[in-house]
């Protein structure tokens, strides 16, 4: 893996290169492969003590203590309506920034950080095959015959969840 695009004194070619390349954090969820732009990922943690919250929506796994701040953790598989896998030693919490809020997502495994050329990402895809609401899928990347669903962190908890969460907040 090259480190082009880092630092200011790189060649024009390298800059072009950087604009064309996206770094993705790749993780697994119920057998599928997903990617998130590394820009929106704050850190990746092992599954530590999660305190369950009574009366919270189903997809809310609970809350964790992230160095003195309490952040919610969602079960991403549950959010996507996928089968939830039992916790294992590979289970991770991916801490992201979504619409200015910090939250954790429970995923089955984080495998790697992948560099992908933007022209290898197909943004207009037919979602019927994926079974996932197209709204929070930014596009599909294709690397070595693997298909990666690239998620849009800002859209992950929009629409219905916001409605559901708003209901909690109001009454």
């Amino acid at each position: 893996m090259t480190v082009s695009g880092l630092g200011g004194a790189v060649s024009t070619a390298a800059e072009d290169n950087a604009a064309d390349i996206k770094q993705l954090v790749i993780f697994e969820l119920a057998g599928g492969i997903y990617g998130l732009d590394i820009q929106s990922v704050r850190e990746i943690n092992r599954l530590i003590d999660v305190t369950p919250i009574p009366k919270a929506p189903d997809f809310v796994e609970g809350i964790i203590n992230l160095r003195g701040t309490i952040i919610p953790v969602v079960d991403l598989a549950m959010r996507f309506g996928l089968e939830t896998t039992a916790r294992s030693k590979d289970t991770r919490i991916v801490v992201i920034e979504s619409e200015g809020h910090t939250l954790g997502m429970k995923v089955d495994e984080v495998s790697e950080v992948l560099r992908i050329k933007t022209d290898e990402i197909d943004e207009a895809i037919n979602m019927t095959t994926t079974g996932i609401d197209a709204d929070f899928v930014e596009g599909v990347g294709k690397v070595d015959d693997r298909l990666i669903l690239i998620l849009n962190p800002d859209k992950l908890f929009s629409a219905e969840e916001h409605l559901e969460l708003a209901e909690i907040a109001v009454d």
Binding site: I53, P54, K55, V60, N65, G68, I70
Partner: protein, 713 residues
């Protein structure tokens, strides 16, 4: 063009003006009420100075109407000061009305609203008060000599009584008197200065300021407005030095000497031409303005010497204070909270390490550091908390005025006794408690205290007493509002509630004595036959109850028919840190804030009965609603464990009581409340979480919300 257009870039000055005026108004209200019962010279002086300051600053900022009103009020006060008038009820009324007007005005300034106010009636009233005085004054003058009479009469702004006194050679006489008096003042001031090596000091500034204030008055009385303005500026400058807002400086001394010098010139001219001419000296005016302005702009962090404006505020006793943005304090508070958590975690880590390692000198060192860090952290936290604390006198001080107005209004006689004004509590609590207390005090005065005739007939003293007291009890503050009035009749309350349809007759039968009294907190329940402007402000006792609930507080009523009522409010000292009871619900733990807890009992499950789908328990003669927390929170229950013990935590939400059933009581916990993250919004029944020493999160119950949710509240 708006008056605010001229003030662009002076927001700081304007904000400072707002804060200062609000503070002064509070003191004025208090002083005026005092003054009525105790005509004290110092009180009059203080009120006079306040209005004088209003006049000056409002003029400076371009609020003409406010300046005009302050001016008339100041004139009236000046007559009180000279002993030409006595503070009658009517005069106090008018002055209080002026103070109210200013409060309204300041509110508008806060919103940057410019209005044209209807102030003429008020000004007329103030002038009319003076009119009385002017007549009395005329008598006094007869003995005193005609010269003085003329001068003072003009001061009353052409009040009718004075007009007739004008004589043919009045003008010349007036000049003569004025010149003499000016000369007299100059002499006094110069002697004063000579005694202090021509230096202005914090000690002599007050004296000097007073003389310039009198000079200003003298000048405006004699139609020398421009000179008067200069005198006013000099006065303001000196007051700033007296209060320690400005340090005595060489520049200040020079300017003062120049002012005096210039005044001599004016005087000499006046003598030559046998007529004092109004004269302008813009250079001096600018110099003074620059001096004063230097004070105003730095006032945001100014060291303020307590000027004793508010009796009873103990901080005023020479203490130096600094104003800090609430947000910064809030931030500091959060950081202190973090520090506490980290300290706890370090402690935990140390214990683990100590258990594994054998003791050696490095471990001893670590132990010491750990201990001292712990101590310092606790102290920092306490110090930060302390900073947010304000004495409850901030709320109490407005009540004497309320009682006074009500007494006059209703033809009642009553006295307000304040106890424990120094009791401190968190600023946020102070803010939220103010309105409920106001309502309770009004209620006591309006519904509690009887008219003097009735009281006499009942063999009570004609003057009713309302007592407002505050005291600390552990981590709580207890506020009591009591009166020796009519008291409440529980049966009458029930009858009333039935009549209004607030309760059904079935409900009425099952009500305990407490429940019956608590009816007054129901929405739409008011025992006052007619809606007065006292109780008719749209704030009912139900709002009191709601506010107390929001603060995690509890209310209790004690009353005896014919002897009076007492309403007891229990509040947490602060909202940021909760002291609570850690309870176990099977394998999970929750914290219930102590503020809500009445008591805990070991539960005899056979005492529970189900009424219409809900569990209830008989507790101290009341039937109270009961909630199994495990059911409510869907906590996994260990069904096999047959002999599980249960405890009931009896909580109070405002005036209602509930029992929360838990499986264990795990001791006291001091918790810094943290939000659960915005994504989750608010989870019903959970106030937030706290991070324990082991890094684990424990949820803190929001008891009022919880009972509301379970359909009981």
């Amino acid at each position: 063009m708006s008056v605010y257009d001229n003030l662009v870039g002076m927001e700081e000055v304007l904000d400072e003006f707002i804060i200062e005026t609000i503070e002064l108004l509070e003191a004025v209200n208090e002083d005026l009420v005092h003054l009525e019962s105790d005509p004290d010279e110092e009180l009059v002086n203080r009120i006079f100075r306040a209005f004088h300051t209003f006049k000056g600053t409002c003029g400076f900022l371009g609020f003409t109407q406010a300046k005009d009103l302050a001016h008339v009020a100041e004139d009236l006060l000046n007559q009180l000061r000279n002993g030409k008038l006595q503070p009658s009820g009517a005069i106090i009324d008018n002055l209080l009305a002026s103070s109210d007007w200013f409060a309204q005005f300041i509110n508008d300034v806060k919103e940057r609203e410019e209005k044209v106010y209807e102030i003429d009636p008020l000004i007329e009233k103030l002038k009319a008060s003076m009119g009385d005085g002017a007549a009395a004054e005329a008598e006094a003058i007869a003995a005193d000599g005609a010269h003085e009479a003329e001068g003072e009469a003009i001061a009353t702004d052409g009040a009718p009584a004075a007009e007739g006194d004008g004589t043919g050679n009045g003008q010349a006489d007036k000049n003569e008197v004025c010149i003499q008096r000016l000369d007299g003042f100059l002499n006094k001031i110069e002697t004063e200065l000579a005694g202090a090596d021509q230096q202005i000091t914090e000690e002599n500034a007050g004296q000097l300021a007073g003389q310039f204030s009198d000079l200003q008055l003298l000048c405006s009385e004699n139609q020398l407005p421009t000179i008067a303005t200069l005198m006013d500026y000099t006065h303001q400058f000196l007051v700033a030095v007296e209060k320690g807002k400005l340090l005595p400086s060489a520049e200040g001394n020079v300017v003062l000497v120049e002012v005096l010098h210039w005044l001599h010139e004016v005087l000499d001219d006046g003598r030559e031409q046998a007529e004092l001419q109004d004269a302008d000296n813009s250079t001096l005016l600018e110099d003074l303005a620059a001096l004063i302005h230097g004070e105003v702009t730095s006032a945001a962090v100014s060291k303020k010497q307590g000027d004793g404006a508010a009796k009873g505020v103990k901080a005023a006793a020479g203490g130096q204070t600094i104003r800090v943005d609430m947000e910064r304090l809030e931030n500091l508070m959060n950081l202190a909270g973090e520090l506490v958590l980290s300290r706890n975690q370090l402690g935990q880590a140390y214990s683990t390490l100590a258990a594994e390692k054998t003791a050696d000198s490095s471990m001893d060192n670590l132990d010491q550091v750990n201990n001292s860090l712990g101590r310092i952290t606790t102290e920092i936290q306490e110090a930060v908390m302390q900073m947010r604390m304000l004495p409850i006198s901030n709320v109490f001080r407005k009540f004497p005025r309320v009682i006074r107005d009500l007494a006059r209004d209703k033809g009642k006689q009553m006295e307000l006794v304040l106890i424990g004004e120094d009791t401190e509590l968190d600023r946020s609590v102070i803010e939220s408690i103010s309105d409920p207390l106001l309502h309770l005090v009004r209620n006591a005065a309006d519904h509690g205290i009887e008219t003097p005739e009735i009281r006499k007939a009942m063999g009570k003293p004609e003057t009713g007493t309302i007592t407002l007291s505050a005291s600390h009890a552990g981590n709580h503050i207890i506020i009591e509002v009591s009166d020796d009035g009519a008291g409440m009749d529980a049966e009458k309350l029930v009858a009333k509630a039935l009549e209004k349809g607030t309760i059904s007759s079935m409900e009425a039968e099952s009500m305990s004595y407490r429940d019956k009294l608590n009816l007054i907190f129901r929405p739409g329940f008011s025992t006052a036959a007619k809606v007065t402007d006292v109780s008719g402000r749209g704030v009912g006792m139900d709002v009191v109850s709601t506010n107390i609930k929001k603060l995690n507080g509890a209310i209790d009523i004690e009353t005896k028919v014919g002897q009076g009522s007492k309403i007891v409010i229990k509040l947490p000292l602060t909202l940021a840190i909760v002291t609570g009871l850690k309870v176990a619900v099977w394998d999970e733990e929750y914290i219930i804030p102590f503020g809500s807890i009445i008591e805990t009992v070991k539960l005899d499950t056979s005492a529970l009965t189900k009424v219409e789908d809900k569990w209830v328990i008989r507790f101290r003669e009341s039937v109270i609603n009961t909630l199994y927390l495990d059911e409510w929170f869907s906590v996994p229950v260990d069904k096999d464990k047959k002999d599980q013990e249960y405890y009931a935590v009896v909580v109070s939400v405002a005036e209602f009581r509930y029992a929360l059933v838990v499986t264990g009581l795990n001791g006291q916990e001091e918790a810094v409340i943290k939000p659960l993250g915005q994504v989750l919004g608010r989870i019903p029944g959970i106030a937030g979480g706290t991070i324990g020493g082991d890094g684990k999160i424990t949820l803190i119950l929001d008891v009022p919300e919880l009972v509301h949710r379970m359909g009981l509240g």
